[in-house]
């Protein structure tokens, strides 16, 4: 039974129809000791049927440790959002989710998918100018809970 209701599925389908770029959800799981991996995968699985631009690639945190290291992932479940540039090369959006994207985080995931898929960021030119001052690596970890 799908987690998303039929009317919500249609709303998402409509929203995703505006995407101009593919979004690959790189899902890091682990076989043992991950209580929420199955739930996370189940949530992600709801999305590709709603848009042919969304796909899921699964990787194992332990077995695919080079890939995990490439994206700086050390926990499961985690999701990395990737897209492609005009030449078809992979682009890391540098947006990640640690933990199952359930509850409130689901809408954050959808926003992130839309952004990576081509929706313009909701930042003004003034915001972008200020952010351009950042010239060294910055990790922003936003802690949330499902409710």
């Amino acid at each position: 039974m799908p987690l998303i209701s039929a009317p919500d599925q249609q709303r998402l389908r409509d929203a995703f129809a505006e995407m101009t770029r593919p979004v690959r959800l790189m899902f890091f799981t682990q076989t043992l000791g991950c209580d929420t991996c199955a739930e996370a995968r189940q949530i992600l699985d709801e999305l590709p049927p709603l848009s042919d631009k969304i796909s899921i690639e699964e990787a194992n945190l332990i077995l695919d440790k080079d890939k995990a290291a490439q994206f700086g992932i050390d926990r499961a479940p985690s999701v990395v959002l990737l897209t492609k540039d005009e030449q078809g090369a992979d682009v890391d959006s540098r947006i990640r989710f640690n933990g199952a994207p359930s509850g409130y985080e689901f809408s954050s995931l959808i926003h992130a998918v839309m952004l990576v898929g081509g929706r313009p960021p909701g930042l003004t030119d003034a915001h972008k100018e200020k952010l351009a001052a950042i010239d060294r690596p910055v990790l922003l970890q936003v802690f949330t809970t499902p409710t």
Binding site: I95, P121, P137, L139
Partner: protein, 71 residues
Amino acid sequence: MAFVNPHITAVAVEATEFPDLARRYRVSAVPKTMVNGEFEILGALPPDAFIAQVLTSLGTAPEQPEEQSQS
């Protein structure tokens, strides 16, 4: 923010699934943002305020704020 500046990585962390991280950063109320694991930003702030706090915590504080345009 991660989208517009290639130096920035943004991670949404579900605190109840990773209690060690929640404890390390003393997360009680959410949302709480850690900048480079050192600086805290509490709450859900509008972009102007959030960006200003990120810049301040990095030591690249913006100049005097301009007139606030509509947010």
